[in-house]
């Protein structure tokens, strides 16, 4: 909006109004009065030194000038601003030249700056700078001190105004990236008197209860504002709280260009609340991908291990020592076969020589075999006979040879018959005259038992002597008892002598056995 002041009435107008104190005037009239008074009383080329603050560039520049006690709004039109030779920044100590007017539309006194000069830095910023240096010397700002942020916090404490836009930015970002990360909202005032202490106290509280609350990280954040608005986060107490916080802190205060103390001491500084949330929240999609890769690596690792092991086992089993059942026995069994072969050879050799010897002996024996001998002799006789026959054949008349052989056979046969007959006759004679037929006729032969001599005479026995009498069918034993009758020719037969045996002893009369036998009942053949 333009700030061209409306020219109001001149001194006359103002005098006439001022003169009428009991008159009711309009607001516009009042504005005009104020504006007029300012113009009257203040020089048009006013130069003011103060701290530039709340700077905002909207083509025309809008800011305030301040010191310890007072603040004045200022505006610098683009045409004038373009002439500014330094980079304007909040906290800078400047000399602004211009005039003061009353901006009726917005009801404020405005310092219209036509020229701006840099003087030195602002008080506040000077004080801040001193503080930062002091804490830097203490090591509060050291990079080495800063902790790493957790890759996957279970819960994040968000210290901010619960009504601010910063909180929504954080929560939305966290939900988009990884809803599994929980959020704990810690409401604080983020500007105004005492805000610094409140923020510090909240950081302490979260730090103490982090374990119980399951807090793995903290975000301290607020949206953009002037250096005064953000001043709470430049206070020493906040720096102390962050330093001693038990969990990592991410600070995102104001805009990119704003840097507060907390951001220098925090473990990480983020340009915006969204970026702070991004830093602390893992991306679910990439985590899932990572997990998949890990799983694949794990599986392939074990597969490779199993495959190697089974290859080793397979190779081992292919080795003949394991795969072929007889492998280990092959050597020993070969030796065994060789040994038994040698054994067999020597045994057979021994047997062979023995058998050979045996055969030789047998052959020698066979040469002396009777059958063989007889056969050999018979063969020789037949051979001779054959030769004889052949010779006879050759000499005798071939025609009559047949008759001759017949006659020969016949003669031989007759002769043979005659001989058999003669033989038979002799046998008969022999039978007649033999002792057996004599005995059969009743004659007996008596011998002494003691010496087997034949008894020819009755007088040659003594009583008690044992005798053996041979009859045709057997022997009779007897004992002589008593005396016998006279010996020569008395012709008396003695009394019968009782014998121990049932057989009767036939007294033999003194007749010689040889010669005639002449028993009346025994008529011999002769």
């Amino acid at each position: 909006m333009t700030g061209t002041p409306k020219a109001s009435g001149g001194a006359g107008e103002g005098a006439s109004i001022a003169g009428r104190r009991d008159t009711v005037i309009s607001v516009s009239d009042l504005a005009a009065l104020i504006d007029g008074a300012l113009k009257d009383r203040l020089p048009t080329g006013l130069s003011v030194v103060g701290e530039l603050s709340g700077f905002s560039d909207r083509t025309h520049w809008y800011f305030t000038l301040k010191d310890e006690e007072a603040v004045v709004s200022a505006v610098m039109f683009a045409s004038a601003a373009a002439k500014c030779r330094f980079r304007v920044a909040n906290g800078q100590r400047v000399v602004a030249t211009g005039r003061v007017e009353f901006f009726a539309k917005q009801g404020r006194t405005q310092f219209y700056v036509t020229a701006l000069e840099q003087v030195g830095m602002g008080e506040l910023e000077m004080r801040l700078k001193a503080l930062i240096e002091e804490l830097r010397a203490l090591g509060w700002l050291d990079a080495a001190r800063k902790r790493a942020l957790p890759r996957f916090p279970r819960r994040v404490a968000v210290i901010t105004s619960k009504t601010g836009a910063a909180l929504q930015d954080v929560l939305d970002t966290m939900r988009r990236r990884c809803p599994a990360v929980e959020a704990l909202v810690c409401d604080v005032r983020v500007q105004g008197p005492g805000a610094g202490e409140e923020v510090a106290a909240m950081i302490d509280r979260v730090s103490r209860g982090a374990a119980d609350l399951g807090i793995d990280a903290v975000i301290v954040t607020r949206g953009g504002g002037s250096i005064e608005d953000l001043w709470a986060f430049n206070e020493r107490v906040v720096g102390e709280a962050v330093l001693s916080c038990s969990v990592p802190v991410v600070a995102a205060i104001g805009h990119e260009t704003d840097t507060t103390l907390i951001e220098l001491i925090a473990d990480e500084r983020a340009a915006t609340p969204t970026q702070a949330a991004m830093r602390l929240t893992p991306d679910t999609a990439s985590l899932l991908e990572q997990l998949g890769q890990l799983r694949a690596r794990l599986a392939s690792m074990v597969m490779r291990l199993v495959r190697n092991e089974s290859r080793r086992i397979e190779a081992a089993s292919r080795h003949p020592a394991i795969g072929e059942p007889g492998y280990t026995l092959r050597g020993p069994s070969q030796r065994l076969v060789l040994a038994s072969q040698r054994l067999g050879h020597s045994a057979r050799a021994r047997l062979g020589t023995g058998r050979a010897a045996l055969e030789r002996l047998g052959a020698r024996l066979a040469r002396h075999e009777p059958r063989g001998l007889y056969a050999a002799r018979r063969a020789a006789v037949e051979h001779a006979l054959t030769r004889l026959r052949r010779a006879l054949k050759a000499r005798l008349d071939p025609r009559g040879l047949g008759d001759l052989s017949e006659r020969l056979n016949g003669a031989w046969g007759i002769a043979a018959d005659r001989r058999s007959a003669a033989l038979a006759a002799l046998e008969r004679e022999l039978a007649v005259v033999g002792p057996m037929s004599v005995l059969a006729r009743g004659y007996s032969l008596t011998t002494r038992a003691s010496d087997g001599t034949v008894l020819r005479s009755a007088s040659s026995v003594r009583p008690g002597e044992s005798l053996v009498t041979r009859l045709s069918d057997g022997d009779v034993r007897s004992t002589v008892g008593g005396e016998l009758a006279g010996v020569s020719g008395t012709g008396d037969s003695g009394p019968a002598v009782p014998l121990t045996l049932p057989a009767r002893a036939v007294p033999v009369r003194g007749r010689k056995r040889r010669g005639t036998l002449g028993s009346p009942d025994q008529l011999g053949l002769f």
């Binding site: 957790p150 996957f152 939900r175 810690c186 985590l287 690596r297 690792m301």
Partner: protein, 76 residues
């Protein structure tokens, strides 16, 4: 193929259910390194593999939670 047998080490892997994502994934990576290094034998590798699978399942279940949980810290 790792042998499929009833898991006798169920009790050994029971602690996984309460592990944080970070702890679980860290152990999973450590297991893979150990198996890869070949320091441990076949049997132990298979047991480690089983634990690795359980850890990975835990991680997946954590990520599967789709609803953001927001709570507010009560008064001081």
């Amino acid at each position: 193929m790792p042998p499929a047998k009833p898991n006798p080490d169920a009790s050994a892997n029971a602690d996984i259910g309460a592990m944080s994502y970070e702890a679980a994934v860290a152990e999973l990576e450590a297991i893979i390194d150990r198996i890869e290094s070949g320091e441990i034998g076949l049997e132990e590798s298979v047991r480690a593999y089983e634990r690795g699978v359980a850890l990975q399942a835990r991680c997946k279940s954590i990520l599967a939670q789709a609803e953001q949980r927001v709570t507010e810290l009560g008064g001081a």
